[in-house]
Homo-oligomer: 345 residues x 2
């Protein structure tokens, strides 16, 4: 199998290098090819998603992404939209056809104290957010800024709703069997369609799943006030952008949170943290999220659950024994990565 | 002056009655007229925002709203969209031209323990959310559900952005002088316009205000992880719906949170909690939010800051001495209201 790595900007290269070391250890037969994306790709190739990267992905089995984007005041943010680092990311998602973004949010036993929530609220939280990633207001072509007016269109079709809902139902079957579908059906027609189609699919093909529907504003409240009530949360793209970042604060460190984006072809695996330009190049970034993303790649991209479990366990051990600075510990990127490799055996 | 009260559904009538008692005490010269809205108005007049209510508002100086809507599985939610309780609320906002929704989020000293956040994070939080209330994806006429496709349009114009931004800058001048404007300018054209216009207005007319721009997903994280970094948060309608409910969980009880919606005419004042049909009619609802909304009505609607301060102080005393059940106390609606009236003098 062939994996394409896309280290990207900021701390992306450091944490991706760590994840690659781990992949080489547990899947030595895999071919790994590195390519450019994001702001760096714009600098070198005048394109945040260069043709060469696009080509390399055509026969890849999975892609491992680092991070893209610069500091808040980076010159990249002043480029025309289609040249900005984020456009490279969006083009990558579209190219791979990854319509379902999976974000596990888990508070590990003994790490409740890291959460901004009270320990009794954070304890035992185990949510999977399934976010639609290729539709809605993100990609719709009916969009414009023109003088003193601008608009974007939030659009969904039944096939788009159904394919991502299937992923949520499938995931719930492996978990506690409950899906909460998010919408704003009291205001939006597009949510009315979403709710109707998700319910119909459940009634047709997933009778064993307990499905309920909640408004996005209510979910935003309850994810904080009572996160344990959720198992799988299914949401459209924009609501998912907000809710998945919101939920990601619960464990208390973005440094340990991986993600997988799945579609009909190669999957895309990436840590959810940003490019952290303030600490880039110093060798102190926490590579746990990137390594756990490699774990998700092994599980969902290469269908190697044993290797994936192996990686998950090794990261848990390293987090306990060699916590990085963002977790209140002292380990740098190197030390942490070695701890993982050691725990791998 | 004339005030129209709109008690609405669920616990709306109980908490509005409490607020009216307080208003009669501190502003005995005011005429108060009660009218129908929401699900009850649909039952009685086949319209969630009846013509008679609309007419009564024409010469009102302010409106005091209770709550609208039924239980999650209420038959009202199955009506055609324009007959549902929420449509009455949206029509009311539009009728009054209330384009700026103000939601103070304050953790009162000594009440940090009610927050789902750790006390050291909740302590001292004092945010004002200014949400655009008449534009964006809520009201745009370019919307449709048709067979297996549906869409809504998020649209803003410069005048719409500027009028609400002025409210945020004005409010910041009375506070700590900082405005965070929320958008998703890395993806949406409509956010690009929003960011550009807010910045231009600041540079032109509000040089003393410190303005920064943050992405909505980042604000969702930071409002929970580090709420003290915010003073005034300025946001468009849909992001504001999500963020203002999210921020509302910080104080730990929706029962104490008022809101004001301002425009060029009469303002609309309402508690932010829902209609709580499960406890409606039992006389146990916490009327603090409704009474504090009456306080905002005195301040912003009738320009009577002394009376408003008087009410705020009396509610603070009553909360300390006679907390309601949602706050871990024993007081019912009557007891709490009497405690407020007593504290008033
Ligand atoms: C960078 C941005 C375009 C992206 C998104 O909004 O999807 C990011 O916030 C994410 O959630 O992966
Ligand atoms: C009931 C609903 C239409 C309304 C909104 O979304 O504006 C509510 O959530 C609010 O925030 O006041």
């Amino acid at each position: 199998p062939k994996i394409v790595t896309l280290p990207g900007d900021g701390i992306g290269p450091e944490v991706t290098a760590a994840a690659v070391e781990v992949l080489r250890e547990v899947a030595p037969d895999v071919t790994i090819e590195e390519h450019a994306i994001g702001g760096g790709a714009y600098e070198d190739h005048a394109d945040p998603f260069p043709q060469r990267t696009r080509d390399a992905l055509k026969d890849a089995d999975a892609a491992l992404l680092g991070t893209v984007g610069g500091a808040h005041d980076s010159a990249w943010n002043k480029l025309p939209r289609h040249l900005r680092p984020e456009s490279g990311l969006l083009a990558l998602r579209r190219e791979l056809g990854c319509y379902a973004n999976l974000r596990p949010v888990r508070v590990l036993p003994g790490l409740e104290h890291l959460s901004p929530l009270k320990a009794e609220i954070a304890r035992g939280v185990d949510i999977l957010i399934v976010r639609e990633l290729l539709g809605g207001i993100y990609f719709d072509q009916d969009r414009r800024i023109n003088g003193d007016t601008a608009y974007n269109t939030m659009r969904y079709t039944t096939p788009e709703v159904e394919r991502v809902a299937k992923v949520a139902f499938w995931a719930a079957e492996q978990r506690r069997g409950r899906v909460t579908s998010v919408d704003k059906a009291n205001v939006l027609e597009v949510s009315e369609l979403w709710r109707r189609d998700v319910q119909a699919l459940r009634d047709r093909d997933y009778r064993s799943i307990h499905l309920n529907h909640e408004y996005v504003d209510s979910v935003a409240m309850l994810v904080v006030a009572n996160p344990s009530r959720y198992d799988v949360i299914l949401t459209e793209n924009l609501f998912g952008d907000i809710l998945s970042d919101l939920a990601a604060v619960i464990p208390g460190s973005l440094g340990v949170m991986p993600s997988a984006s799945l579609g009909d072809g190669a999957g895309l695996f990436e840590p959810i943290h940003g490019s952290a330009p303030d600490i880039a190049g110093q060798g102190v970034a926490n590579p746990a999220a990137a390594i756990l993303s490699a774990g998700m790649l092994l599980r969902h991209g290469l269908k190697r659950p044993d290797a994936a479990n192996h990686v998950d366990r090794a990261v848990a051990i390293a987090l306990r024994e060699h916590p990085t600075r963002d977790l209140g510990g002292k380990a740098d990127t190197r030390t942490f990565t070695h701890a993982v490799l050691e725990a791998l055996g």
